[in-house]
Symmetry: C2
Subunit: 276 residues, 2 copies
């Protein structure tokens, strides 16, 4: 039984359709899945909701909203509307959280402080609608390797400074080992996060880093992260939700889905579950 | 006149010998150079000291000591002895500081907290000898991209927590834009650093990140860093020393030395000097 709290983020088997990802979860005995908006859109939201309902799987997260850093008013408005749509999708799918990727610096823009401030404004504007829809927003602090082009929120401490402005029933944080393993004092920040932790995502930091930094994540156990201590900190903070394996890695994407899910289930049992 | 406070870290023209790097500095009107131990060893310490003295250049830093994270007692001792040798070289060359690269996790070791603790112990052990030799140790916090394999000290805040245990005349910090530009609250940490800042090193964060992360730095102006605000923070903290351009980049290494120094001088004049 690898079920229980292990969830497959479907991006870990990026070439699979939603139906195939659901099948891979069920075949491996998983009871939860993290879904992405693109493969949901491929089949349509209603059909996706039906597939998931029929499967009996929980939806540990919907990836992803966010990309809040545009400065140009039209782009800001488009991002807002897209995030409202993402909130509706998260509500329809019953996702435990909507992952918010902060977004990077706009092209040619070097004002990091202003970009970070726009993230806060954009979240503030979304909160009432998320609350109305019963959706929990999950701010995802991202490894500084992505600070320029993907996520200007770089530490759990920084994400909590934002989240704590809002009702914990509506705004939380995503704790991801790849993004946060290096953060000085991260255990204290995890403890501070407490019931703000709305998703625990895992993958490893491997070296040498693969050439495409967006596909640089490794299978747990293949890299440098101490999953025992990190997981104990998350458990001690009171997190009882699913543990989502999210690995972007071209070598993994080339493997059969079943093999990938088998491997990650084994690594989860060995490295993570004993510490939950 | 590009002289004054601009310094060429010789690794920016990595294929040059010490004599060639000195010539490139003088040809461009620079008055300072950051030297590396390997090219110094190539000609011998005494000859290197002579070359530098004859050139009239200041030595803004000697790179590098550190690599303090070994756990095995023999390796710890070897690192200590090598750092004592580096201190002697820094003293002989009259370097403004000896750059300390913290070191990464030992092979197969995932205990980041313990590795960080060993850095503190190793520095503590070196301080009396550095003090005796009149050498200022510069702790270099490194971008988290290097946390696993090169530098377990990841933020200026963390470096200052270590440096502040010691006499500011002996232990300071290296403030490097590439390593620190993303750090939340970095301006406050730079202000806190004050006279602990023993070197200001500059290069840019470019995207997409070049495939070899060790050669991922860019020329100022080619990337995402706001040199104006960062430099103003360093100046406001009271730093009056040299500004060292340290760029590890294969494309740059392929260019003639004179071209590289010309370009970095222009970028310095344009992006950095007005804010010093």
């Amino acid at each position: 039984m690898t079920g229980g709290r292990l969830s497959l983020n479907q991006r870990t088997i990026a070439n699979a359709s939603l139906a195939e990802a659901i099948d891979a979860c069920r075949a491996a005995g998983l009871t939860s899945i993290g879904v992405w908006r693109e493969p949901v859109a491929e089949v349509g939201l209603e059909r996706a909701a039906e597939l998931i309902k029929d499967s009996g799987l929980r939806v540990s997260s919907l990836c992803r909203g966010g990309f809040f850093t545009a400065a140009e008013p039209g782009a800001v408005e488009r991002a807002h509307l897209d995030n409202r749509a993402a909130i509706e999708e998260a509500a329809r799918l019953g996702a435990a959280t909507l992952c918010l990727v902060p977004g990077g610096l706009p092209a040619g823009d070097r004002d990091l402080a202003a970009a970070r401030a726009r993230v806060v404004e954009a979240i503030e504007r979304l909160v009432p609608y998320a609350s109305e829809q019963g959706v929990v927003l999950g701010i995802e602090p991202m490894n500084p390797i992505y600070a320029a082009d993907r996520g200007v929120i770089s530490t759990l401490g920084q994400a909590l400074d934002i989240a704590e402005r809002f009702d914990p029933a509506v705004v939380g944080v995503i704790v991801d080992t790849f993004h946060l393993w290096w953060e000085p004092g991260v255990e204290a920040q995890i403890a501070r996060a407490a019931d703000r932790i709305v998703s625990y995502q895992i993958s490893d930091w491997i070296t040498p880093l693969p050439p495409d930094t967006l596909l640089a994540r490794g299978m747990m156990g293949d890299g440098h992260i101490d999953f025992a201590s990190f997981t104990r900190a998350v458990a001690a903070a009171g997190y009882t939700g699913d543990v989502e394996v999210e690995i972007f890695n071209a070598d993994l994407w080339a493997q059969p889905y079943g093999t990938v899910v088998q491997t990650l289930s084994e690594r989860f049992e060995q490295l993570v579950r004993p510490h939950l």
